[in-house]
């Protein structure tokens, strides 16, 4: 068995829609992510990125295939899996009526961070993320940038070895997006295994150690940027992405018919 903190084999997810029938959102995805590595999941809207990540963090149950987070299988031990990871996306909001300090306490305790060390950990994150002045104000009164910092702090408050960022920079301005990418790079340097999904090519180029190109629910290629360049003979990631998307088997597109976004369901 691989010692990679995150591993997926043949991960598949079908949705059933009354009017459109069966929708293959993710179809046989294999991937792995090591410690101190950022694996970028690069794909267009509706490619299956969010569905894949939701299966890895056990929000969705795979229709077929298996995935492990720190050795725990997502279907067999979902709570242990969630204990070992932090999940952040544009759709994971904060509770507006409580303060950042209360938010961090809640997520530390519910994610089983040792009780005796919760306060010290919360204080440490408040200092590290520059939240000291707002730590006891309600979240609803914070600016978007501050909310984003609280959101990241709550993702890492229980010090999980695996972090999942699902299109985290969506809706952020340039400065906040850069700050967020710096934070994620810092977390990688602390040895975290990070899955990072995006449809922004430059973001993947700058941040990811390896890139997995996903299209119509299938992984078309995985490798470092240099490996992908060598394989395609193209320089820019955008060109590389288009190359893979255009040469993908036609059958794949057929198989994932109706693969558009299902409201609240698959990406």
């Amino acid at each position: 068995m691989s010692d990679q903190p995150v591993r997926a084999e043949g991960l598949t997810k079908f949705f059933y829609d009354e009017s459109r029938g069966e929708i293959r959102a993710v179809d046989g995805v294999d991937l792995g992510c090591s410690r101190g590595e950022i694996l970028g999941l690069l794909g267009a809207n509706g490619a299956g990125k969010t569905t894949t990540l939701r299966m890895l963090c056990t929000v969705l149950e795979p229709t077929a295939g298996q995935a492990w987070v720190m050795g725990h299988e997502v279907r067999a031990e979902p709570e242990r899996v969630r204990e070992k990871l932090g999940f952040y996306s544009a759709s994971t909001a904060l509770y507006p009526k409580i303060t950042p300090r209360e938010t961090l306490r809640f997520f530390a305790r519910i994610n089983r961070y040792p009780g005796a060390r919760v306060e010290a950990r919360v204080d440490d994150l408040i200092q590290r993320f520059g939240l000291a002045d707002y730590a006891d104000s309600r979240v609803e009164k914070l600016s978007t940038g501050m909310k984003q910092k609280v959101s990241i702090a709550r993702t890492v408050v229980h010090d999980p070895p695996v972090l999942i960022f699902d299109e985290p920079t969506v809706g952020l301005d340039v400065l906040n997006a850069i700050e967020l990418r710096d934070i994620i790079a810092g977390l990688r340097d602390h040895g975290k295994a990070i899955l990072f999904s995006t449809h922004i090519m430059s973001e993947a180029e700058q941040l990811c150690d390896r890139i997995a190109i996903i299209h119509h629910g299938r992984i078309l290629a995985t490798g470092t940027l240099d490996e992908l360049r060598d394989e395609t003979g193209l320089h820019y990631l955008e060109q590389i992405f288009v190359h893979y998307a255009q040469t993908a088997p036609v059958a794949m597109a057929d198989a994932s018919r109706g693969g558009g976004r299902l409201a609240g369901g698959p990406e």
Binding site: Y16, E18, R54, C57, T58, V59, L60, E61, P78, E79, R80, R82, E83, L85, G86, F87, S89, S91, T92, A93, L94, Y95, P96, K97, I98, E102, F106, F107, R109, I110, N111, R112, R138, R154, H158, A263, G264, G265
Partner: protein, 424 residues
Amino acid sequence: MGLRQIWIIYRHEVRCALRERSIVVASIVVPLVMYPLLLWAMLAGLSFVAGQAERLTSRVAIQGLPEAHGALADSLAAHDRIRLTDWAGDRESAHRAIAEGRLDVHVVFEPASVGAGGVVDNFRVTIWFSEARDRSYGARNRVESAMAWYREALIDDVRRELGVADPVWADFVVVRSDVATPVEISRSILALVVPLLTLIMVALASFYPAIDATAGERERSTWETLLTVSASRGQVATAKYLYVATFGALGGLLNLTALALSLGWISSMVGAPEAEELAGTGIPLAALPVIGLGIALLALFVAAGMLAFAVFARNFKEGQSMIMPFYVAVFLPALFLRSPDIEFTLALALVPVVNVAMLIREVIVGSVPVLQGGVTLLAMALSVAGAVYFAQWTISREEVLLGSGQGGLLRFLRGRYSMLRRQR
């Protein structure tokens, strides 16, 4: 079971709810202030109306009064709140004037159909008035009292002329005697009101928390955040369920407390309350544990039902419309079954919610229906278990948690059915 995880989420839910104005108002403030406000409004309204009516002078038109009974006209004229008006028009125009508020009553004297021994110019009288107008109604009462007084005096004169002895006359009276004590009367009134209001308050107090715990999460985009914590879906659903039930029970208990305090206040003005009753309400102290248990059972049942409906809503607005039918269904049967003449049978003890309302009614009037109480407890325990299981199952479904939630519970069940058929 992971009680620690449930406790952490439960505390978190309660903390957030206590900072949500709509929840605090509906679940805590309304149950507490409703009775004092209602009583104040009722007393203020009644005394205002009584004062207004008392101050008004009644405009009375008399027609056809025999000359021999001029004393009657004198006594009416002497009344400081009656003004006699000459009415020259016909009967129809008088009735129109009453309807339009220009006149209050029209008193028409006619010769009596049978002659009476000692009475000269005996008459029968009709008082025309409008019950649709308070002033007219009050005027009728004033004229009627004056007539009754005159009639008594007239009959007294005739009796004396006929030589009927006083003792014979004095014994010919009708006496009304009520065997119910004031406490029993108070209990019977409370038995009509308390079960229904308890139901309404428990349902109202659960209403907003149920939406907040489900549709609220979706509207705030915190569902997914909560689903990625290290707690099972069952634990999340249980914590949310307990949170809603807590607020429902809190609303019910606060409502009962407010009732006791409000009625206790009135009772202290009238006289000292009895020691074995709740602060002068007439509710026996021994009934309190049963009422408390009833409130708890209601809260547990209502919370599960409301969660099962609200979980499909995408926002507060949808949540409100999805819960409303259940909300009405909870207290509507109790509205019809609160008559004291409807017996608390074993069959009724099997009907959830209605049985608790009936049980509360019975213990308030002081009866102890042990068998029906046992059946109620059993029926409610089974109903609560079923409702909780259904709510948990619904909330834990992937398509409900992350689905669009369109169509609500019925559409979800139809979708499940069609999926099962397809799989088969």
